[in-house]
Each structure stands twice: as structure tokens, then as C-alpha cells.
Amino acid sequence: MGAYILKRLISAVPVVLGITVIVFVIMSLIPGDPATAILGSYATPENVAKLNRDLGLDRSLPEQYFIWIGNMATGEFGRSYSLNRPVLDEVMERFGATLILAGTALVLCSVLGIVAGVISAARQYGLADKAITFAVLIGISIPSFFLGMMMILLFAVDLRWFPVSGMYLPYGGGDLQDLLWHLAMPAAALAVVATGVVARLSRSAMLEVLRLDFIRTARAKGVGERRVIWGHALRAAMVSIIPVIGVQAGFVLSGAVYIEIVFQWHGIGEMLVNAILKRDILLVQGGVVVVATCYVLFNLVVDVCQSLLDPRVKA
């Protein structure tokens, strides 16, 4: 197992390097002169030339790239001009908030999605199946940002169960209970679409498995139906459900951008959107590289889980 993990870690290196190349290439497509953009009304020719020199923008593109990743490798992501603080500090702080939100949503969507999918498959064409299928259809069609807004209207404004926005109360608070109270609505809104997708795929994965011979064997042994479904069938179906959850992590992370805006959750999505609107390139670059790298590592973890789950896939 250790060797397998090491092999996967090594294979992730070129992917992460590829990510930095893509980000760098996209960013170098920016028309006009970044220095001019940064300096705004202070963009006198002398200032622009000086800033270009300071930022290393007077060098060739490959040179710039290697300087950039060299700096990142030593933890030097540069300084955000719009926030006037180190990019890495800002990214880490924001990413932490996003992980709380997206992680909760991912757990929610996995658990609810699998449970819904399994029930749906076990009661195929029954009332529960129809109800779940209908709910899933609504869930995967509703824009999460719209759903979030409607939830605010209902649960925060009308019923006053949850706060409208934010991560903690502005004064006091800051404890876990406060965090969970603020987290409930955005995490739920974020989880809805992914839950629908996971439920759909779990249902069809279960239907595939339930037809197989070893399920008949389990029944022939006298294993009870609950155990046949949740033990035997789900265990086998997980092999095809786990990769789906890995893919959903990317969608949840993406959906978090909208949810952060709607609920004013100060995560990395909100940071990126603001950075783009203010053309704070270093902040965008840093944020994208950090998040994408974490996503690659997460998928690596999913692969390892997969190999633990399926003894037939040997490292």
C-alpha cells in the first residue's frame, strides 16, 4: 500500500506542474500591460518600466515561468496589490473557510445521495423511488445560487431559523456552535445538486449490482434483505460510487464560489471573483494554483480509498 501511495504521489507531480503551466499560459494571454493595470492612474512610463522590472515582466516568458514556480516552491506567492498583503496568507485563510463549507457539503451529498440512491434502487418503481427520482430531477436542475437566495428568504428572513449570511456573528460567537449555525444553510444549498448526482449514480450502480449472481447467493444463504442491500450490494456498488464522489468534489468546490457570494461566506471563491474584478492577477494565480493542487491531492486520496475498497485492484 505504501508503495502504491508513493507511486501515485510521484505521478501527481507532472499534473501539478501542468496546472501551473496552464495557469501561467492563460494569465500571459492578458491583453495589455499588467503593470499599467496595477498602477492605474499612477501609470507613468517610468513607473511602468520600474514595476515591470520589479515583477520580472521584462524577461522572456519561459524565464518568467521558472522564476514564478521557483518562488512558489519556496512559499513566495507574491503580494496582492488590491489587499496589500501576501497572497499566500490571504489564500490560506480563505481556503480554510472554503474547505469547511465544501467539506461539509461533500459529506452531506455523499451520505444523503448514497442513502437516497440505495433506497430508490431497493424500491424500484415504488413510491419512494418515484419521490426520490422527482426530487433528484428538481435538485440537479435548480441553480444553487438561486436556491441559496430562496433559502435565505424562507429560513432566515421569514422563519428566522438561521442567520442570513456570514461565517460567525460579528461580535462574540466564533465558537463551533456559532459556526455550525451559520454553516447549515450554505452547506445544504451547496450539497443539493451534488446529492442529486450522487443519488442518481448510486441508484443505477445498485441496480447493476442487485442483478448479479452473488446477491442471489446471499439470499440463498438466508441473509436478510436489509443486509443484502446495505451490506452485500452497497459494498459492491461503492466501487463505482467512490469515483463519482471524487468527481463531485470538483463540482462542490466549484459551486462553493456561488454559495460564498450568496451567503457572504469569506472563502476563496469570493476572493477569486473580487480579485478578477479588480484584476489582481497574482492573487488569482496563487488562489487557482493552491486550490487545483489540493484538488489533485484529494483525487489521489480517492484513488487510494478505491484501491483499499476493491482488493481486485492491486497496486
Partner: protein, 645 residues
């Protein structure tokens, strides 16, 4: 493949049942189509509809509620007419979403086709690049692109299109790889056609349906994505009307004037849902696997729909009695009668062999005993299954479950498919014990180990921790046998237990079963198509044809003097070692389709001895001697009670 599965898989292709299921799904797709059609109509008619100017501001009348005079859906924060902006905004959102889908489908498919067609280094290089793009959570890539190009509707469109390219490239590459080495492509190559021409005339038409499916399932997503970017303020820029933008602006006054946000949000929802419904319909219609309705899960117990009363229990119940058992497969309007009245009995400690061709119903009979026929589509429609006289068809599920694997155990054909691939074999045996007996784990393990030794598995302790794929075919079947024996059952139903094994292993397994039977005195119902196996193993045999028993009797008598023409022909099919150059006689014709059984004897159309009487009325399975029963008017040998004396 067992006979039980054969009719179900053949039957699920039945056109009517499949059509009905398709129809049920397509009603939703049609609903989606109508809704989307109405939206499209509204959008296309926008220029001629009497709509207000979507840009005309009227600040004193801002945030008018829906149904206000002159503003059917009210006004927004600048007093602009929401209805008008909604219609024009829908037009923008639809156009951008469709354009993004077309662009990414075109580019992605082109990449996929080229990579899949040329293969080798081209493929490797292109797919590595695609993998890199897929390593991003998609919105990061979209945000980076918008960051580079600047906010705006066209740039948002480009971002969404680029982000979805990998999806198309991967799917289409997969299909193209499968096509690139097919005969018709090779033929075109040999004919000297250029690669470009082969791609356009041979490959493209074949991948087009896949492209259509991929597009129909992602287009709703892309509409949502472009709306999302506009919502973030990175897509359409004000004052242009756009659904996402309207929602974003409406958010600022969400709490005081929710309608300005709710209306465009609902519109996005309606569009995306109708597109998703259509997409599901397209996929279902084009995906042959779904169309076959193959995704039906069998229930815990075969459905029972017994017409009339159960037959009265026999005066002297055996261990197992099947009485006039009828099982059918209902596939829409088609009904396959797998069993049309099977009567047999197994005494304690006895071994009864059921022999017949595939499709004769022997496996269905075996599975019907414990309600294990896949249902749907299987239904037991009549007769009785009696275990020590107790009618199991009328028994509650929990009673049946208590017998399964405990008093009546199964050994199935293919041990690789019938053992759980992800559970250790030891655990699977332990489970068989513990579902019936509350014994400590350690005790159950000891018992499992004992059984693994009894079925002569070497290194049994170590094998306990193995997964089925780590064992050989013969070892797996030994595990299956150990699992069946673990609760000391009274009856083992062995459904072609040696068919999937090679010949030497077959002989070992049969010898093992014979020994175990002698030692433990367990009764066996042995299903096979192989007379050779029956001869050395069974006390009595029953020959099945088209869902009925046609002849039954002690093994030696039936093999020595087969009375039914079918039995005789079937025995003649078996090659005999050392029997010299005997002619192997295949039986002319095919078994009848069980949804269209002829009157009278089902074998008559293939029988040389058939007369017109054979094709009329019901021919009974009548006792001809004290030990033999026969369903034939013109037996091969005259068997009378007198002869037995």
C-alpha cells in the same frame, strides 16, 4: 449461464414491455419538450410581442410588484419592465448556452476523434493535455479564463466552452478507439482513402449519436454555467438583459423585493429542468442497454400469484415435494411459461437428478423451491412447494428466509460470479452460519475452517482470508460447497455445480460431493444437462422438456431403457469414452418457444414417433411401473407393471 437467466435476458428484449417502459420515461421527456418549446416560442416571438423596452428606466416606479398596471411581472431596481427583460434575457442565456455547447462539442469531438483515430503518440500527448484541464475544478479554469480575457458575455461563453472540451474529447475518443480498428475502417484504408476522408465518411457518422447524447446531457449544465458567471458579474455586463445578471442584481434587494430575483431564477430552473428531461429521454432512447429495460432488480423473493387453491399435501410427504408447480416470466405482454406443472419429490438422503437441455426449465425449478427466481420478471402462478409437507408458497418471507441456507442450501454454477467478490471467503462462510445461529464469531470461524478442511482445501487457515479472485475455479466451488454444508442442511440444491469447471476438476468436485453425501446423509437435487454425471451420482433422474417432466425413474432403469423418445435422443447425444466410433445424434429441430407451447406433447414436432393424437389435449405424467413415470403415448420400450414382475 443458467437456464433461469436465459429466458429473462432473452425476454427483456421483448418489444412491448420495453416500449411501455420507454413510454413512461418519454412522457417526462415529452413534457420537457413542450415546456422548452413554449420557452423557445416566446423567445423567437420576442421581436413581435408587445413588450416594453427592456432598457427603458423609470426610477419612480422601481420594484413594482407583479401584476401591476402595464408591468405584468413588475419592475426591477431601475423601474425596467421585468417581463420584457426576462424574455430578452432568456434569449441571451439560451443562445449563449447553446453556442457554448456547440463550440465545445465541435472542438472536443475533433480532439477526441483525432486522438482516437491516430492513437500512439498523438493520442498520448492530446489526452495528457486533456487530463491536465480535467485536473482543475471546472470553475477555477473558467474563472482564470475570464480573469485573463476580462468580464463579458463572449468571454464567459469562451470560458464555459473551453471548460467542457475535456468531457467531449474523452467520451468521443473512447468511442473512436473502438471504431478505428473495425473492418469497415480497414477496408476504407485498403481502398486508399485519405485519413481525413475516412474520418469524415466512416468515423464521424458513427460517433455522431454519442456526440448528440453527450450534448443533450450537458447543454442544460452549460446554460446554468453561463448564467452563473453572469450572476457573479463576470458574464453579461449591465444594462444588457441576461437571466444570470438579473438574478445577480436582484440579489441586492432580495429581502425587500424578492420578485426581482425570484422570477429570473425560476426561469433558469424551468429551462434547465426541461433540457435535462429531454436529455434523459434522448439518452434512454439511444442507449440500448437502458432500452432493454435490463436494469431491473430482483426482489427478495419470487413474486407469487397463485390462481386457485394449493394442491392438497400428499399422504406421505417426502422431504421436498413440488406439486404441479408453475413459474412464468412476465415481460410486458409476453409470458414465458418456464414451468408448466412440475411434480417431483425428494426423499431424505436421496439424490434426484434433473436433466434437460438449456431452457428446459430445470434451473427455474431449482430456484423456485426457495423463491430465488429473479422477480421481476419471474412469477410463480400455481402449484405448491412443500418442505416436509409445509406449503412454502403460502409461508411468510421470514419463514422462507429461515430455511434458506439453513435447511435447504444451494450450490450454484459459476463460483466466481456467485461468491461476493469483495468479501473474504472465510467471512462469507461465517456469515452463512451467523444469519441462522447466534454463535460467537470465534465459534463460527472454527466451524467455517472445519468445513473448508472437509471440502479438502489445502492451507484452509490461510484461505479463509483470501478473496474469491485469489482462488482457482475448483477451489472457489469447494468454498461454495463448504458454504452450503455449513449449517448441516437436509437438502442441497446443486444447480450445474460442475459445468463451469474443467474436466479433471469436475471429477474431483463430483467425488467430493458423493463422499460428503455418504458421510452426512444429505439429500441432493442435482441439476445438470450431462447424463454422464447423473449416471454416476444420482439415485433417480427426472428428464425435463419445455417446462415439464417427461420421464422419471431410477437412474439405472432410465439410462438402460429410456422410454420417452426425448430421453433416448438426449442419451444418444452423450459421447461415451471407449465406445468406439458411435454416431453422435443431434436432435433435429429446436426446443419450442415457451411463450408459444403447442397443444399436446411439446416434443411432438421433433419426434419421429409422433402421431396426430400426440398433438391433441393434455398428456399426463402417468406411472408406468412402480418406480417410473412417463409422459408419452408411444414409448420407445413397453414398460408395464407386469414386466416388472
Amino acid at each position: 449461464m443458467s437456464a433461469a437467466a436465459a429466458p429473462s435476458s432473452a425476454g427483456s428484449r421483448g418489444p412491448v414491455g420495453a416500449f411501455l417502459r420507454l413510454f413512461a420515461r418519454n412522457r417526462l421527456a415529452a413534457f420537457g419538450g413542450i415546456v422548452l418549446g413554449l420557452v423557445l416560442l416566446l423567445v423567437l416571438l420576442a421581436p413581435v410581442l408587445p413588450l416594453a423596452d427592456p432598457y427603458a428606466q423609470d426610477k419612480p416606479n422601481k420594484f413594482l410588484l407583479p401584476f401591476s398596471a402595464g408591468h405584468l411581472l413588475g419592475t426591477d431596481h431601475l423601474g425596467r419592465d421585468i417581463l420584457s427583460r426576462l424574455v430578452w434575457g432568456t434569449q441571451t442565456s439560451l443562445a449563449v448556452g447553446v453556442a457554448a455547447a456547440l463550440i465545445s462539442a465541435t472542438i472536443g469531438s475533433a480532439i477526441g476523434i483525432v486522438a482516437g483515430f491516430y492513437g500512439g503518440r498523438t493520442d498520448n500527448l492530446m489526452m495528457r493535455a486533456i487530463d491536465m484541464l480535467m485536473a482543475f475544478p471546472y470553475i477555477l479554469l473558467a474563472l482564470a479564463i475570464v480573469a485573463a480575457l476580462g468580464p463579458g458575455l463572449v468571454n464567459a461563453l469562451i470560458a464555459v466552452a473551453v471548460v467542457n472540451i475535456p468531457f467531449f474529447a474523452r467520451n468521443i475518443r473512447g468511442v473512436t478507439v473502438g471504431l478505428a480498428h473495425r473492418e469497415f475502417v480497414d477496408a476504407a484504408r485498403l481502398a486508399g482513402q485519405s485519413n481525413l476522408r475516412i474520418i469524415l465518411t466512416e468515423i464521424l457518422p458513427n460517433v455522431l449519436p454519442v456526440i448528440v447524447i453527450a450534448m443533450s446531457t450537458t447543454i442544460g449544465w452549460m446554460i446554468l454555467e453561463t448564467a452563473g458567471l453572469s450572476f457573479l458579474g463576470l458574464g453579461a455586463q449591465p444594462p444588457a438583459p441576461d437571466l444570470g445578471g438579473m438574478l445577480g442584481q436582484g440579489r441586492n434587494a432580495l429581502i425587500t423585493d424578492p420578485h426581482a430575483a425570484a422570477i429570473p431564477g425560476l426561469m433558469i430552473f424551468i429551462i434547465v429542468m426541461s433540457v435535462n428531461l429531454i436529455g434523459d429521454g434522448v439518452r434512454d432512447a439511444l442507449d440500448p442497454r437502458l432500452r432493454a429495460g435490463a436494469l431491473m432488480r430482483p426482489m427478495a423473493r419470487t413474486q407469487i400469484d397463485r390462481r386457485g387453491e394449493a394442491p392438497p399435501a400428499p399422504a406421505e410427504p417426502a422431504l421436498l415435494d413440488l406439486q404441479e408447480l408453475r413459474t412464468e416470466f412476465r415481460l410486458g405482454a409476453r409470458v414465458l411459461k418456464a414451468l408448466s406443472g412440475v411434480t417431483l419429490s425428494v426423499k431424505p438422503g436421496e439424490c434426484l437428478g434433473i436433466v434437460g437441455e438449456s431452457g428446459s426449465g430445470k434451473s427455474v425449478a431449482a430456484l423456485s423451491v426457495m423463491g430465488l427466481v429473479a422477480s421481476p420478471p419471474g412469477v410463480i402462478t400455481g402449484g405448491a412447494v412443500r418442505y416436509e409437507g409445509e406449503d412454502l408458497l403460502g409461508a411468510p418471507y421470514e419463514r422462507l428466509r429461515g430455511l434458506r441456507g439453513n435447511r435447504v442450501a444451494y450450490i450454484f454454477q459459476d463460483p466466481l460470479a456467485t461468491l461476493h467478490p469483495l468479501h473474504r471467503v472465510g467471512d462469507q462462510i461465517v456469515e452463512a452460519i451467523r444469519v441462522h445461529r447466534r454463535v460467537p464469531e470465534a465459534e463460527a470461524r472454527a466451524r467455517a475452517l472445519e468445513l473448508l478442511r472437509a471440502v479438502r482445501i489445502p492451507n484452509a487457515e490461510r484461505r479463509m482470508g483470501d478473496y474469491p479472485h485469489q482462488l482457482s475455479g475448483g477451489m472457489r466451488q469447494r468454498v461454495g460447497i463448504a458454504m452450503a454444508l455449513v449449517n448441516d442442511p437436509d437438502l442441497i440444491i446443486a444447480d450445474e455445480p460442475t459445468t463451469a469447471l474443467d474436466v479433471t476438476v469436475q471429477a474431483q468436485i463430483l467425488a467430493l460431493l458423493a463422499d460428503l453425501r455418504r458421510e452426512r446423509g444429505v439429500a441432493i437435487l442435482f441439476i445438470t444437462h450431462d447424463f454422464g454425471v447423473v449416471g454416476q451420482f444420482c439415485d433417480r433422474i427426472a428428464v425435463m422438456y419445455a417446462g415439464r417432466i417427461v420421464e422419471e425413474g431410477p437412474t439405472a432403469e432410465v439410462l438402460g431403457a429410456p422410454a420417452h423418445p426425448y430421453t433416448r435422443r438426449l442419451i444418444a447425444c452423450v459421447p461415451e469414452l471407449g465406445a468406439g466410433r458411435r454416431e453422435l445424434a443431434a436432435i433435429p429441430g429446436l426446443p419450442p418457444a415457451v411463450d408459444d407451447l403447442p397443444d399436446g406433447c411439446a416434443f411432438a414436432p421433433r419426434c419421429a414417433r409422433a402421431t396426430p393424437e400426440c398433438r391433441r389435449g393434455e398428456i399426463a405424467l402417468a406411472p408406468v411401473t412402480a418406480t417410473r413415470r412417463l409422459r408419452c403415448l408411444h414409448p420407445e420400450v413397453e414398460l408395464t407393471r407386469e414386466e416388472q414382475r
